[in-house]
Point group: C3
Chain length 160, copies 3
């Protein structure tokens, strides 16, 4: 085993940790910076994936769209009433080519309501493509969030 | 700290990730290949372990038995109606001797029903013995799944 | 990336795993040894943190207090009736200076009642300061357990 594999895993895991911390600590404004300017962010379900449906529940294809999304969330003021906690597994590298790494990572999100109630909000797998930006910082070229359950809270608006 | 400890942890964690992915992505047919041909796979409870009961809820002592188990599951067709999501902690190496590593890892499994309902299905700890096969691939010589709860779904048939 | 970052993460993660195993395997007597003799252990809520309230739900400022706490728990005999399972994320190093590392780690705790019922007991983030003792063993100088929910079981007595 080359040490480089360990380093890759370390860098992917750190990116995942930063991602989760942005959301869970309500630093949503920092969240788009984890993506390249041209990127894909998509939320879909395992069933849609299996059936080959391209359409997701959420779709964005640029960092600017992610920033708009956060601004809209702040305006709607939904987020204040609840918080989230991501528990994220270790990434599995699927392949790596020409500076781009494809990886997948299991996740679980707990939602904590303002009155203290907690519930299991979502589980699933992140399907990612990541690469370095010109400064050597690892960012998402794509994050597809595949939720295990097809049942969604209609208020789903928070990044997963 | 020797670098070799980091590498060992990395290899164990990768084996765990592959294990979880086989089950959660419904690639059950690949699951037995993570074990040596002669192996032990056992599901038991913390209470049984404490009392020293050898009998588990599930017991297999060869890869062939695991393969049979998967075939039976496919025939029974139970699995199609639900899916699972494993969230697995980092392994703790307990000892390492003569090419065999004993490790333990905490796990949590969420079950997702066909209608979208999710529930906390099982938590516990994996007690593992792993070693390289002749090709240098790490496999389970033993995986004992110790579930925290003694209450079981009578349909428990899916690998944990 | 320096290899030393990977090693630091490995050591932090191992400390976290030992911490969780002490509690989940009911080896509470070993738990205080993960802290320096002079240390801070505190349980608080995200809301209290945001409001700047120093007071926590639990507070101890020495290893001796942690040992007393465990003795009291054993006497009260509450612990026997339930067990816990920690699922802990990867640590994120926040800064590192003069031999002390500040890190944070997401956690989730499931409670398993004696009759087998499981519930999502707590989620949150550990805010830690760790450093080596004179023998080069990493220990907690501070662990502040910030729970996401403000609703607490009045019997909260177990370390989180």
């Amino acid at each position: 085993m080359a040490m480089t594999e360990v380093e890759t895993l370390f860098r992917l895991a750190t990116l995942n940790t930063n991602y989760a911390n942005c959301i869970d600590a309500d630093r949503l404004e920092d969240w788009p910076s984890l993506f390249h300017e041209r990127c894909i962010y998509k939320i879909t379900t395992a069933e849609n994936q299996r059936r080959g449906y391209a359409a997701g529940i959420v779709f964005a294809d640029s960092r600017a769209m992610l920033t708009d999304r956060v601004a809209a969330l702040r305006e709607a003021n939904i987020y204040e009433r609840q918080s989230y906690r991501h528990i994220v597994g270790l990434p599995a590298v699927r392949h790596s080519e020409a500076g781009e790494i494809a990886a997948q990572t299991a996740f679980l999100v707990v939602r904590i309501m303002h009155d203290g109630r907690m519930d299991l909000f979502a589980t699933g797998v992140y399907l990612d493509r990541v690469s370095d930006d010109p400064d050597g910082k690892l960012r998402f070229a794509e994050r597809t969030v595949v939720c295990d359950s097809s049942r969604f809270d209609t208020l789903l608006a928070i990044p997963l």
